[in-house]
Structures are given as C-alpha cells and as structure tokens.
C-alpha cells in the first residue's frame, strides 16, 4: 500500500506540474505579452476604409465646367468570401459574361483577399439593378461608388485634358510617398496627369470594426478618421467657345491650332486633330478599341500641338529677317531680285510660282513670301547668327507649357550640324534652306504660337500656360497664377516694327499670301507657310496676331499635308480671330484674366 500511495502522489505531481506550466504560459500571454496581443487584436478588428475624394473640376476662363465628375458604379467582389462560394462565383461570372474559372483566377490573384477587388468600372444601369436586387443572395458580390470624368460642355479635347485610368504597377512604385493604392485612378495623360497630385485631393479615412471575413460590423468614431478633401479646381485660360470652333474648323483635317492671349501667355485654344473619345478610357478599354486607336493611320493618340515637330516653312522667315536686321547684314530697304530661283554652288534653290517676283524690298518679300529674297538674305548670315535669333524666339527649347511630354523640336545650330553631318560635311548652302524654314529645322505649333506672341509684343512675352486660377477647397481660397513678363534681349524695336509692317502686308494688301485671315474691323498681321516635307503634300502653316496696334491674341494653325498655308490655314485662323473679336464685342469678353505686370 505504501508504494501505491507513492504512485498516486507521483501521478498528482505530474498533473500539477503540467497545470503549473499552463499557468506560466497563461501568465506570459496575458500579463507579459498582453500589449503585443492587444495590438494584434485591435488590428484584427479595425480596418481603415479609404474615402476617395472627388477629383477637382476643370473650368474654362468663363467659369464653364469642362471636366466634371459623375457617380460611376464599379463591380467589386470580396475574394475571401466569393472564392469559396460556388453560387456567388457563378453569379459573378454570369454578370461579367466570363467563365467561372477565369473569374476565380482573378480573385485568387488578388493581393489582399480581405479587400474588395474592383472588377469592372462604369457598369451599366441594368447590371447595377441586378446587383442591388441580389445583394443578400450572393454574399461578397457588390458594387462601389466611384466617380468618372464627364465633359458637360462637349469639349472633350483629349490631348489637352488627357484622361484618368487605373494606376500601373510601375507608377505605384514611382509615387510611393503619395500613399496610392492598387486600383486607384490617376491622371494618365495630358492635364489630368500634369496636375494629378492637385486634382486628386486628399484621401480620407474612416475606421470601422470588421469581423473575421472583413464585413463591416460598426463604425468606430475616433481620432483616426479623416475627412477626404476634394481635389483642387482649375480655371483655365481656355475659352470653350473658341476651342469648340477650332475643333470644328479643323474637322477631319489632321493638324492643330494654338491660340494664346499675348497679354499674359494664357492658352485660349489648344486643339489637336484627329482625336479620340476620352470616355473610352473611363471604363474598361477593350483590346479591340485600343488596337484601333494604335493602328489608326491618323495617329489620334498623338498630340500634334506639343508632341509633334514639323518643318515650319515660310512662317520662319521672320527669324532670318531678324538676324539680318540685327546683324546689320540688311535694312528693310535692301532689295534682291527674284527670277524664280537662286543658284548657289552647283545647286538651284527654287522660289514658288515659277517666273519670279521681280526685284523686292524686305516688306514685300515677306508679303509674297519670296524664297529667292530670303535665300539671298540667308547667304549673308552665318548659322550662328540665324540660330541666335531663333533662340531669342524660344526655338530649340520647350515652351514650358503646363502639359507633360512636350517636344523641344530641333534647332540646327553649328553644334547640331557638326554632329549630324560632320565638321566638314555641311556648307553655307545649308543656310539657304534654314532661312526659309526648311532643312533639318523642326518646330512644334506651341513654339510657333510663342514666337508669334514675342513678335506681337515686340519682345515681351509670358510663359505659356493653361491655368490662370486654382481653387483650393482646404483653404477655400482662389490662387491666381502669378506671371512675370520677360523680354527677349537684343532685338531692337525697329526690327519688330519692320516685321509688323511685313506681316501687316501679308494679310491686308492685295497679293498678300495671308489675305484669308483679313478682318474688316480689326487689323490682323500674319504669315503663311507651306512647308515641304518628305511625307507628301506640304504642311499648311499660318501664324498671326491681332490687333496690330495693341495685340491681344496670337494664333498658330497647322494642317498636316494641307497644301498652301494661305489657302488652308489662313481661313481657319481668320474665322477664329473673327469669333474672338465678336465675342469680345458681345460681352466685353473674354477679359484679360491675368493682371499684367
């Protein structure tokens, strides 16, 4: 019996020791490590919902909303719940008209199965109704309200505004510090991309209590909540009426129009054709639509006014004139004969129109756009002198307009020519072509508009810009664009006066190439260009400004392969200028939007 007592004692001790060990572990978990597990438990039960702020609205200079938000419904599914639910999965596949396996694969690939996965944006009303009706029957399948961009004024201008789309993996990495999440909509192109940070606003948060499968149980009102702040509103210098007119005037033509306010550099019109419907990108762009856009021979995705560089042709003749006058290689009275062409070395450089213009002074040479005159003028110039004048007008560099992906074009200066042709590979003959805006010279329409503004203002210019005013919802204040005028140093007022006189003749005297832009009540000054190019018909250019005495607007019209600048582009410019001054007469509008300095 004694050994039996010892055995009983032994069994009791073993059991007691085991319970001691359990108590020690309990002490460790609940007393020593309590905070760690408390934090883990809080993290388990609370989730911060992201509240997307509405994107900023874009207005034109008259306060007309151009780009706004409308509610849009996005089909979403909670992967953790739907993956294992055959009924919900089948319903979802039926809605999406895809097969169950494909839908399941997408859910399986979700980064976080506890967060609803956005499956299709901008779903139609019929699908929304089906979702709402069957909400309780198929747990996990739901929809979210997001916003999509709409264009209430009918001004879609996709090259200008760009569009928004789901953030890419690469972008997500690049913009880490902005707190973006997969599935967020960000500006992809154009204005939406350039000002994305301001337009997007500040994300808000709402802490909620969730259960183990992520369903909301209740709202937690607490310090971690943050109200979303909507994006900043942008007021553009753009005039929707003029933009629409430019759009319709270009019609099916390929090209672009840039019209700027010479008093502040604000962009009144920025139009590129052909274009595309930006709403294609607001839902899910189908592969077929994307291929069609990519393969369209008119290349509608391309922004021709800032991303495309062309030879400027005769519109560039004011640069050669400026260089010759400033370097005292000629005076306005200098005359040259035109016999239909000029022979330089063993090459003949042709003027247009066959027989020749006879003997001309500078103003008439500009008026009729005589190539022979400018060949001979250019013979007196070095490439350096000409390139310096071009640089004064801003060529060879981006204008700095507030849009992404602007092209700088090509200004063939000595460095460029040495690099491309070799130090001995080019001669003075190169200058003859450059002088009439041909050769390797490439410019963008916005550069041409800036150049026209500088001539119009006789050297004073303003940075080109789309935005003149921003409304910040956080401070409830408007912020005006502060603009500093600049002057191109080194070009005399006399030179500008000569250019003005020449450009006056182009439009206002019989035989001038730009007569189609003539207005009865306002004096317009301009210059046409018919730029030879290897891709077929010449590009039709027109640059001009008005009124001559106290300029308000400068305009550049380009029609790709449009033939003669005077015949194709000058009438477009004429109608736009006509409309501008009519509108001004109607309501003393549009007013100057930025104070001059």
């Amino acid at each position: 019996m004694l050994s039996q007592d010892r055995s009983a004692r032994m069994i009791q001790i073993v059991i007691a020791c085991a319970f001691m060990a359990l108590a020690v572990q309990l002490f460790r978990l609940q007393i020593i490590q309590r905070e760690k597990y408390q934090a883990q438990s809080d993290k388990n039960r609370t989730r911060r919902l992201r509240l997307e702020p509405p994107r900023g609205v874009i207005y034109d200079r008259n306060g007309l909303p151009l780009v706004e938000n409308r509610p849009s419904y996005t089909l979403s599914a909670l992967p953790i719940e739907v993956r294992g639910n055959a009924r919900s999965l089948a319903f979802l596949a039926d809605l999406m008209e895809e097969d169950v396996a494909a839908v399941k694969r997408r859910l399986d690939q979700a980064d976080n199965p506890f967060i609803p996965l956005k499956l299709r944006r901008n779903i139609d009303y019929a699908m929304l109704v089906r979702l709402e009706e069957n909400k309780l029957e198929y747990p996990g399948v739901s929809y979210e309200t997001e916003s999509r961009r709409v264009y209430p004024a009918g001004v879609k201008s996709p090259h200008l505004f760009g569009y928004i789309g789901e953030i890419s993996k690469g972008e997500l990495e690049r913009r880490q510090e902005e707190g973006l999440m997969p599935g967020d909509l960000v500006g992809k192109k154009g204005f939406e991309a350039y000002y994305d940070r301001d337009l997007r606003g500040q994300v808000g948060y709402d802490a909620i209590e969730v259960d183990a499968v992520g369903r909301e149980v209740k709202d937690i009102v607490g310090a971690s909540d943050r109200t979303p702040i909507r994006g900043r509103d942008f007021y553009l210098a753009l005039d929707a009426r003029l933009q629409s007119l430019a759009d319709s005037l270009l019609g099916d033509k390929i090209g672009g129009v840039v019209m700027i306010d010479t008093r502040d550099g604000g962009v009144l019109v920025l139009c590129s054709k052909p274009d595309f419907d930006p709403e294609l990108f607001s839902g899910t762009l189908s592969a077929a639509d994307w291929q069609r856009l990519l393969n369209d021979p008119g290349k509608p995705l391309y922004d021709r006014v800032i991303q495309s560089a062309y030879p400027p042709g005769s519109t560039f003749k004011m640069v050669a004139a400026t260089a010759a006058l400033e370097e005292h290689k000629a005076t306005p009275e200098t005359t040259f004969p035109c016999t239909g062409g000029v022979t330089y070395g063993d090459r003949t450089f042709l003027c247009h129109g066959g027989k020749g213009h006879g003997t001309l002074a500078m103003l008439d040479a500009i008026k009729v756009s005589c190539n022979s005159y400018f060949y001979r003028l250019s013979m007196r110039l070095s490439v350096d002198e000409w390139a310096a004048a071009a640089r004064h007008y801003g060529f060879g560099a981006r204008t700095g307009i507030d849009l992404p992906a602007e092209e700088p074009g090509i200004l063939p200066d000595r460095d460029y020519l040495d690099r491309v042709f070799g130090k001995k590979g080019w001669s003075g003959g190169m200058m003859l072509n450059l002088g009439i805006g041909q050769g390797d010279l490439l410019v963008t329409p916005v550069q041409m508009a800036q150049y026209t503004m500088i001539i119009a203002n006789k050297g004073r210019y303003y940075p080109l810009h789309l935005v003149y005013k921003i409304f910040d919802p956080r401070t409830q204040r408007y912020y005006k664009q502060k603009l500093e005028s600049r002057n191109t140093a080194g070009i005399s007022q006399e030179t500008y006066a000569t250019l003005h006189a020449g450009m006056f003749r182009v439009v206002n005297t019989p035989g001038g190439t730009g007569h189609a832009s003539y207005l009865e009540d306002v004096v317009v000054a301009g210059k046409t260009g018919t730029a030879q190019n290897p891709h077929g018909e010449p590009h039709a250019w027109y640059v001009g400004f008005a009124p001559l005495q106290d300029p308000e607007v400068a305009i550049c019209v380009l029609v790709e392969n449009g033939g003669g600048g005077g015949a194709t582009s000058a009438p477009i410019a004429g109608q736009l200028l006509r409309r501008y001054f009519d509108l001004k007469k109607e309501a003393a509008a549009p007013p100057a939007v930025t104070e001059r300095r």
């Binding site: 069994i11 059991i15 007691a16 359990l22 309990l26 609940q30 490590q33 408390q38 183990a212």
Partner: protein, 407 residues
C-alpha cells in the same frame, strides 16, 4: 454508521466542480455562439443547455449505481462500442467521407467519445484480479490489444485527437497497477526513438540516451541488445510510417513544431487563439465583449477553442479560476482513487483522472500555443453532447467511488 456513510452518496467536491463546469460551459458557449447568424451555430447554446441538464441527471443517476454493476457492464459496453465504431468506419469508407458519428432521431451520437471511459473500465476490470500481474508479458499484450483495437479504428476515421486519448491512458494506468519502471522504459523508448528519428542529431542523442539507460539498468545482455536493436529499427522505419499519415495530420504536427510557416492555415488557428487569450489581459474584456470571439476570428470557438473565449473575456484571473477548478477536480479524483479499497474502482477512477487530465492539458496547451492542434476538446466546457454525457458519467464514477468504499 454504515447508514450515515451510505446517505452521503455524492462527493461534495466533485459535485461543486461539476456544477461550476456546467455553468462555465454555458457561459462560454453562449458567448461563442449568440452572435452567429448561422442557425446551426446559434442553436448550439440551447442544445448545450439540454445536454447539461441530461448530463447532470446522468451524474446523479450513475452516482447511485452499485460499482459491481459497472464492473459487470465493462466488457459488454466495450464490445458494443467497438462494433459501433467499426460500423461507422465501414459506412465512412463506403461513402468516402470522414465519419465520426451516427444519427438517431436527429441527435448525433459519437461512440468514440463514450469509448474513453469504457476503455478505462475495461482495463480496470482486466487488471482487477489480484493475480493479474501487469509485469507479465501476456497481460501486457492483452492490455495493449484492448487499447490498440479502438485506437486504430478511430485513427482511421480519421480522429487523431480521440485516438490519442485512448493511447495516453494505458501507461499511467499500468504504472498505477504496479508495472515496473524498466518495462515502462522499454515500452516508451521507441516512441522517443520515433519522434527523434526525423533528424539525424536528435536521433543520435536519443539512441545514446537509450544506451546509457540500458547500461545502467544492468539487465541481461541479450535483452539489452534486443531493446537497442528494436529502437534502432523503429527510428529507421518511422519516416515510412510518416508517409502513411493524412496530410492534415502531418501539417498539424509540422506546424506545431514550427517547421512550416502557415499563418492562413493551421497556424492561423493558433495565432488567433493566442491573440484572443493574450489580449484578454489580467481582467479580460468582459463577458460577451471579447472582440476576437464576437467578431469570429477564433476558429472552432465553441468546440476545441472554447478556452480562448473564456480567457479573452475573463482575463488571467478568470482563466486561473478555470485552471484551478480542473486541478481541484483532478487532485480530488486521484485522492478518491488512492483511498478506495476496491481494486476495480481504484483502477477505474485513476484511469478517469488521467483521461480528463490528458484532454484538459492537451486542449489548454493547444489554445495557448504550447501543444499541437490535435482535435481534443476541453472536458466539461467544450460544446458537444456525447462529450458532455461522457464527462458527467466519469465524474459520477469518481463521486460513486468516493462514497462506496465498501463493496
């Protein structure tokens, strides 16, 4: 005097423990299920009330059953339950699914649960005669045969947790009956050899330790060498046996050993349970206020993980009360076993103490992350009808033995 003793037929300590267990079980099951929108889970509380009531009736009833009747019933009950389990296994293998219970009038009955005390009674009856010496190989073989039959049948269901309970009870019971420590060593050492065999270093250490014990025991050389060889054999063969285990069984063992990182699978259960317990702190979040419980982060929170619910809502001190209650119950049970003059009752009650202790320790250890997830419920507390009746019956046997000290 004899009458006086016979009138106090319920052991007060056991009775108070059982009543408190029933109360705790109802509170915990209510907390774990009341918020559920799934009717099958939500209704579990009402069912548990019924089981507790039936269980208490059974407790009082069995307290008054003379022990010689229990003695007489041991073998027949064992035979019936083995047949039932065999039947379930056959149905399960035909239908191709795991099967642990059969249904009678909408009530699920799990015979493997009832087998826990019946196996104890069977062993107790077998070793009850004075002359049945546990150190005789024949008796040992019979004892292991009695255990291994239900063990294998239930393991095949598959129900690792329940089958381990059968296995766990035999060595301590034989020790209690007087099995020599060296024989225990001979039986237990292959288990260590098996566990150590998955790693060359641990296996070398195990074999070395076994050799040292064999050397110190100064036994016959032939016996020593054959034990050594047997262990070596088990160690080399066990990786092959490992392959025969079900995937989830391997997974559970591996996760427990920290050999797989699986926060969404089996590891998830342990993590969430530890978070629930740890976040309870010293005083708990309050009844029905445990966020892990109420938001359903706990797996199997009304069955195997019921202790996490209590620990989260009642805190460290509340949990200590639960632990203490088990300890009081088990110590009292061991004392009853030791002070009984009837060998069958001495063996049966100690077997019951060991059965309940093993389940409580494995279950509590599992919820705290220091034992593998074996699928063993917490006696008296976890939801489950068969288990509740079984536990009440076992408690009744303790109380019965405490008051029937004379045959």
């Amino acid at each position: 005097m004899l009458e006086e003793i016979r009138n106090t037929r319920v052991d007060r300590v056991i009775l108070i423990c059982v009543l408190l267990f029933a109360l705790f079980s109802l509170l915990a099951v209510y907390s774990a299920t009341h918020g559920s929108k799934v009717a099958a889970i939500h209704d579990n509380f009402a069912k548990q009330i019924v089981w507790v009531v039936i269980g208490l009736v059974l407790f009082f009833a069995l307290t008054y059953v003379p022990l010689h009747i229990v003695f007489a019933l041991a073998y027949p009950l064992y035979a019936i339950l083995v047949l039932m389990i065999l039947g379930i296994d056959l149905v399960g293998s035909i239908s191709g699914g795991a099967q642990r219970w059969f249904e009678v009038a909408g009530v699920k009955i799990q015979p493997s649960e009832f087998m826990k005390p019946v196996l104890v009674l069977t062993l107790a009856r077998y070793f009850a005669p004075e002359q049945t010496n546990p150190n005789q190989p024949k008796n040992l073989l019979v004892a292991f045969g009695l255990v291994l039959l239900p063990f294998v049948l239930v393991l095949k269901q598959p129900d690792l947790g329940t089958s381990l309970v059968y296995l766990a009870v035999i060595i301590p019971m034989l020790y209690w009956r007087g099995l020599a420590p060296f024989t225990i060593f001979v039986i237990v050492s292959p288990v260590f050899a098996f566990l150590a065999s998955f790693n060359y270093y641990s296996f070398s250490v195990a074999i070395l330790l076994i050799s040292v014990v064999l050397y110190l025991s100064r036994r016959n050389k032939r016996i020593a060498w054959s034990i050594f060889a047997g262990n070596l054999f088990v160690g080399t063969l066990s990786p092959l046996v490992w392959e025969q285990l079900h995937g989830y069984q391997q997974q559970r063992i591996l996760t427990f050993l920290g050999m797989v990182d699986d926060p969404r699978g089996v590891g998830y259960q342990i993590i969430q349970s530890m978070v629930a317990i740890g976040s309870g702190g010293p005083f708990g979040k309050g009844l029905l206020h445990g966020t892990q419980t109420q938001l359903r982060f706990l797996p199997a929170q009304h069955t195997d993980f019921i202790f996490s619910v209590l620990a989260e809502e009642w805190g460290f001190f509340g949990s200590l009360v639960v632990l203490g209650l088990f300890l009081v119950f088990l110590m009292r049970g061991a004392k009853i076993a030791a002070s009984s003059g009837y060998r069958f009752a001495r063996l049966a009650t100690m077997g019951i103490v060991i059965t309940i202790a093993f389940q409580a320790i494995v279950n509590l250890g599992m919820t705290m992350g220091i034992m593998p997830v074996a699928g063993v419920p917490l006696p008296f507390i976890s939801y489950g009808g068969s288990a509740m009746l079984t536990n009440m019956a076992m408690a009744a046997l303790l109380s019965n033995t405490a008051t029937q000290r004379y045959f």
